[in-house]
Amino acid sequence: MYTDLIIEKLKVKFSSGILEIITKNQKRMIITIMPDSIINVAGYLYKTEGFRFIIASALHTKRGFEIHYHFSKDTIGMVLNIHVILDKDNPQIESLSNMFNASNWIEREMHELFGINFLNHPNQEKLLSEGNWAEGVYPLRKEFK
């Protein structure tokens, strides 16, 4: 099956970057990777394997900031979540927007709502509030006791 094949290929190529692989079924996978290998993994999926970038979901949890990058392999209906865990105090990760435009808006949105910094983003302006929002206030951040 393609699922096993793609896991095998990712393991060979990015063995040091992969932290955990969860296969829920043949169409849903979550792969946790080191944040610094996001460019290589996303580039491989997009350029070589023909995955489509759906969207990214940021989460604020006790572990810090997490991002699920959702990729779709449309020919077999697979949704592959590339999962990264970022630093609590200084969340930052390399931007994917130089590779494809699909991530441009969502990275701006995550920057605005969670305060995650996307390095080398072509234009990290605010997307939703157009400057009508106070600096340093991130609406979707949570407070943990």
Binding site: K27, F53, I54, H68, G77, N101, S129, N132
Partner: protein, 401 residues
């Protein structure tokens, strides 16, 4: 460098009557650059969802979009059912698909009408919206509402389509099909529509891949992606139908894809109605006790493209995180490719060609203090400021008396 003129479309669209602001930077009549500004109406639905129970979230997400109001509950149900590993009864699957496809028909008719309106061809607008009415009446018969049908819940649907209603639905679909024939003939053969839409707002296959565009926008550029086929859900794997594509990528191709898709929708509904007859009446939902901890990626093909819902459950009765991606979010972004280099008149129809749903994408409103410049006012502060100002005005008026 030549001087550019700024032509705004918005902040409230004059034709679509929805909040959006496109800034067209023009040199003469040619659009040289385009910027999109949001910031008119943010509803904070993702955050709001975290405070609602799974049952309540259906009503919330239904209100994201007034036109395709079942596509968000559809994707959310798929996400939650993935977490809880729920298999629906066949009757529930058929009913879900029937609702989804009826919605596609009325949404596509609405777009065809609006496209005519944009081109100044108001006859098409009036026809299309007139023929859309019987479909809305069907919704009223099935669910009690013309829009926001409240049909979905975790584990099935809320209302049955009784077998006695099947002949009525068939009758209306037959009539609608004849009207679509008429409309398709009028649109496809009209030389004015050809002149206004062919070769306008072209999106190449590579543009679609780069921007991750979905739905009829992608299919009109030759990319056969459709969640109903690729990642089948509800009753779509149980019926026969085909994905409609076109190659040109211009506005005409998008109209063609939508018109032909309506025939496929009618065919899907007819097969589903046939399937309904074989299933036991009333067998529409299974009981779901609780949603376990986990992550769900739910997808559904809305009339405008793939709707994506990401739900993280912590085992409680409400989502811990709920991310929503409406198809317009990726489709509107393609305007940088489709509008630049066009005339202003062509840019407006190119913007409309992706069937943008601003209420899915426009999502922000904020009040800020003009004096300090950065502080966000809460509701009480806003009221106090208003009272203060009123008192000041009163004082001025009284002093003048």
């Amino acid at each position: 460098m030549s001087k550019k003129t700024l032509i705004p479309i918005g902040p409230y669209h004059p034709l679509q009557e929805e909040p959006e602001l496109f800034k067209l930077y023009c040199d003469g009549e040619i659009v040289k650059d385009i910027k999109w500004e949001t910031g008119y109406n943010h509803r904070g639905i993702e955050k709001l969802s975290e405070s609602k129970t799974y049952e309540q979230v259906f009503f919330l997400v239904e209100r994201i979009c007034g036109i395709c109001s079942t596509s968000h509950p559809f994707a959310f149900a798929n996400a939650v059912e993935e977490i809880a590993d729920i298999e629906l009864t066949n009757r529930a699957k058929y009913i879900r698909s029937i609702i989804g496809e009826l919605e596609r028909i009325h949404s596509h008719l609405l777009w065809v009408g609006l496209a005519g309106h944009f081109l100044g061809y108001n006859t098409v607008f009036m026809w299309a919206w007139k023929y859309r009415e019987p479909v809305l009446d069907l919704f009223e018969m099935i669910s009690g509402n013309r829009n926001s049908y409240a049909m979905f819940k975790v584990g099935g649907v809320r209302r049955d389509i009784e077998n006695t209603k099947i002949p009525v639905i068939r009758q209306v679909l037959g009539d609608v099909k004849k009207k679509i024939d008429l409309l398709a003939g009028a649109v496809m053969d009209d030389p004015v529509i050809h002149a206004r839409t062919k070769g306008v707002g072209i999106l190449t296959r590579q543009d679609i891949i780069d921007y991750g565009a979905v739905g009829p926008t992608a299919r009109a550029s030759g990319l056969a992606i459709d969640v109903r086929k690729d990642d089948p859900y509800a009753a779509y794997p149980l019926v026969n139908w085909k994905v409609i594509t076109a190659e040109a990528g211009d506005v005409f191709a998008k109209a063609e894809v939508r018109l032909l898709e309506m025939y496929e929708s009618i065919s899907i509904i007819e097969q589903c109605l046939e399937g309904l007859k074989k299933e036991k009446e009333g067998d529409i939902a299974i009981k779901v006790k609780e949603i376990p901890e986990g992550i769900g990626n739910g997808r559904a093909e809305a009339p405008r493209g793939e709707v994506f819902h990401f739900v993280q459950s912590d085992g409680s009765n409400s989502p811990a995180r709920h991310k929503i991606r409406a198809p317009s979010y990726v489709n509107i972004a393609t305007f940088k490719k489709s509008c630049i280099g066009q005339t202003i008149a062509d840019a407006t129809i190119s913007l409309a060609a992706v069937d943008p749903c601003y209420c899915c994408t426009e999502r922000m409103a904020a009040a800020y203090d003009l004096n300090s410049g950065d502080k966000i006012m809460n509701a009480n502060e806003l009221i106090n400021a208003s009272v203060k100002r009123t008192n000041e005005i009163k004082k001025t008026i009284n002093s003048q008396l």
